[in-house]
Amino acid sequence: MAEKLIELKNITKKFPGVLANDSINLDIEKGEIHAIVGENGAGKSTLMKILYGLYQPTSGQIYFKGQPVEIKSPLDAIKLGIGMVHQHFMLVPSFTVAENIVLGVEPRKSKIFADYNKAVKITEELSREYSLKVDPHAKVESLSVGIQQRIEILKVLHKGADIIILDEPTAVLTPQETEELFRVIRRLVDKLGKTVIIITHKLQEVLALSDRVSVMRQGKMVGTLMTKDANERILAEMMVGREVLFEDLEKKEVARKEVLRAENLQARDNRGLLALKGVSFSLYSGEILGIAGVEGNGQSELLEVLAGLRQVEKGTITINGNEAANKDPLEIRELGLSHIPEDRLSTGLSVEATITENMLLGSHRKEPYAKRGIHLNRKKIRERTDRLIKEYDVRTPSQDVVAGNLSGGNMQKMVIAREFSFDSDILIIAQPTRGVDIGAIEFIHKEIIQKRNEGAAILLVSADLDEIFRLSDRIITIYEGQITGEFLSKEITKNEIGLYMTGKHKDLSQGGA
């Protein structure tokens, strides 16, 4: 039996009104890859933040190599050799790679001036030692997410970490980048004797990478098992607490008719740079068209342009035969388009408003909810809200609850309920299940498929490739503001898509030629 490096005993963490961790026991062995899985809000991140000294446990004890320790701050954790790579990278975009890596422990000239050359040397040495290639002089803002993550890992290693905690490391990576990351992790563990704890909710990754896996649910530790004894179904069941059926979604044949056409669309992003460089595509009724791409390649801008939230610089949009470029959001909604925005907290809802008020938007001038468009009929409004809450399974004690108090999944169901209730021909859906728990994902996917089967035209953007594949009939790939490919989802694999998402398909065809 391997040496127990870290033991967490009866760790409990209480936040006002929430029991985030409920007497958790966990041990980490030296030289293993230990996966911690669980739904959003299961308490995985809280537990790891306790281990890294960002939170103090309400009660319980941490043992390090058999000795009880108190980890009061990340500084203490670093001293013990524990490092953490956060889900949101903590890098300074305008600094170079070398500057970022030595940040906080800068080498000094005469104890005062930062020694940049030394920082570069340190970076090169680290890079060689761990075979993680980086250019010390490159500015972080110009690098891809995958490389940025590599820098985060180097940073942690530079601080002398033997135990590396990775919080949702693959959330923003392409399939190729994920594979590369896994190779790196394997090498760290097998060749260099490091120990890795990885937090995730992607079960396939757990099975592919880890040695052992611990499952958490609602603040409790459900159990730890050897990965070789686990499979996706067992883990999903442990996570949700009931059987989860990843059944195939039934797709009916529906008459296809072009309802939306975009031609040569150009638009700028918030910084004024061209984010869409001539995008053209058609969307048909009764289909789900998935847009696959690494985040920040123009998907967000494309959706905003279609929904009337962003200026079209050039090109045309036709919705049901009507010219729709640069119309305002209300006009576009009236042409028959509903929109589930990618960021529900900033755009999809008002966190201060009640469920009633959130569900009212868009119907608030329509009969019978507003008499003559002015006088609000509270009774009708409340009836409709209750109906939608039931139909879309929004879990809430009452419709007077403020949206900010709902869980991510319930917020999303609320937004979906509102947008689906308009019965529009066209649905633009972005990140439908981001931050949503497994049970709700199942439900949301079914609702989306049902809309498709009823003949709606659906444009789907998701950072989750699995989701795109599961739902889409057709997939287009977007890279740097341009469409790089169009496929029937049955006729392409995830790996091929990955190449189109990163613009590497050209190398492929050139190499082949």
Binding site: P16, T58, L349, V351, E357, L361, G362, H375, L376
Partner: protein
């Protein structure tokens, strides 16, 4: 929502109570008896028919400026220019009253109110357009426009429209038909209070029961959400700002038509600022504005009697008002601190139980 309201009411009453206790402490520290002081204050505010009438009279401009602030703050566009709009509205009403002297009240009063509403509304329209068109900060523009309006009317009333008697800083008295009748002898309470009741009901209906009020609320909470949902955010912001200006203008008109019967250079002792404080305290709730205006009106009226009877300076009331604001502003912070304290206490108990 209900629970939240109750929590808010509790913190509001605690704040008022704490402010009064601190006020009492200040009286005591100055060698006065707080009980005598507060008794005089209450008696001065509601002790007799005259006192009640005076309290109500002081409440009139506060309700109007409070409602004006509510609608603008709810929509997320901040009208800090109420004082200027009030001065222009007051001057507009006076201008009608001294130039068309012989109009009967039935025509004259609505006309004077209309002119003051237009003056206040237009004066708010300017910063609103600058805001939505050019994204120029409305707070700074409206604050500066206050000074412009006060100085402009000050000039007008001392030169072109100065009273014949001399430079009093006042216009001639308005025609008799314009003068709103007084309701209680010696007090300045006049029929404007009935107009205010009607205006309050309209504003309550507008803000709480119509789709326009809903849109205004949503814009104030999250403009991106509102735009995404098909609300014309810019148009609604302009609307809210203009209505706010109109209400301030009318508040000025009532000071002329009901209280002074002429425009005075310093006609408002800062009604718009008080109204803003009131709206802030009650979180822009129209009914809350009415109640808090009554409370502020009573404090103002009572403080004068208190000063006369006990020698405690009436400025103490300004201190108490400010302390209430301070507590309300800190409400969220206090609440989480208190909650955190109880949560920790619970947590400790749990740990103790386990050890035992």
């Amino acid at each position: 929502m209900k629970k939240k309201n109750i929590e808010y009411l509790i913190s509001l009453f605690l704040s008022i109570f704490a402010a009064l206790v601190i006020g009492a402490f200040i009286m005591w520290a100055n060698g006065r008896n707080p009980i005598v002081g507060f008794a005089a204050l209450i008696k001065g505010a509601i002790g007799s028919k005259y006192n009640i009438a005076t309290t109500l009279a002081k409440t009139v401009p506060l309700i109007l400026t409070g409602l004006a602030t509510s609608i603008s703050f709810r929509s997320g566009i901040f009208n800090i220019g109420g004082e200027g709009q009030l001065y222009l509205g007051a001057f507009g009403a006076a201008l009608v009253g001294i130039s068309l002297v012989n109009l009967p009240g039935l025509v004259g009063i609505p006309l004077a109110l209309l002119v003051s509403a237009i003056a206040g509304g237009l004066y708010a329209l300017l910063p609103a357009i600058l805001k939505v068109r050019y994204n120029i900060d409305e707070v700074i523009v409206t604050i500066m426009l206050n000074t412009v309006a006060v100085l402009l009317t000050g000039y007008l009333v001392n030169y072109p429209f100065a009273s014949d008697v001399g430079k009093l800083g006042a216009t001639e008295v308005i025609g008799e038909g314009y003068q709103l009748s007084r309701l209680v002898r010696l007090s300045t309470l006049n029929t404007s209070i009935f107009y205010v009741i009607v205006i309050t009901i309209i504003m309550y209906y507008l803000l709480e029961r119509t789709s326009i009020g809903y849109e205004i609320k949503m814009i104030g909470q999250n403009p991106d959400f509102s735009r995404y949902g098909g609300i014309n955010v810019k148009r609604r912001m302009i609307f809210a700002m203009v209505v706010s200006g109109v209400l301030c203008g009318i508040a000025g008109a009532f000071e002329v038509l009901g209280v002074h019967y002429r425009f005075l250079q310093h006609i408002s002792p800062g009604y718009a600022w008080d109204g803003m404080l009131i709206a802030l305290i009650v979180k822009n709730n129209p009914l809350g504005v009415v109640l808090m205006s009554l409370f502020f009106g009573a404090l103002k009226t009572g403080s004068i009697s208190m000063e006369n009877a006990t020698g405690i300076p009436s400025e103490l009331i300004a201190v108490i008002q400010s302390i209430i604001i301070l507590f309300i502003a800190g409400e969220a912070g206090f609440k989480s601190k208190i909650k955190g304290f109880f949560a920790r206490k619970d947590g400790r108990k749990k740990v103790g139980e386990k050890n035992a």
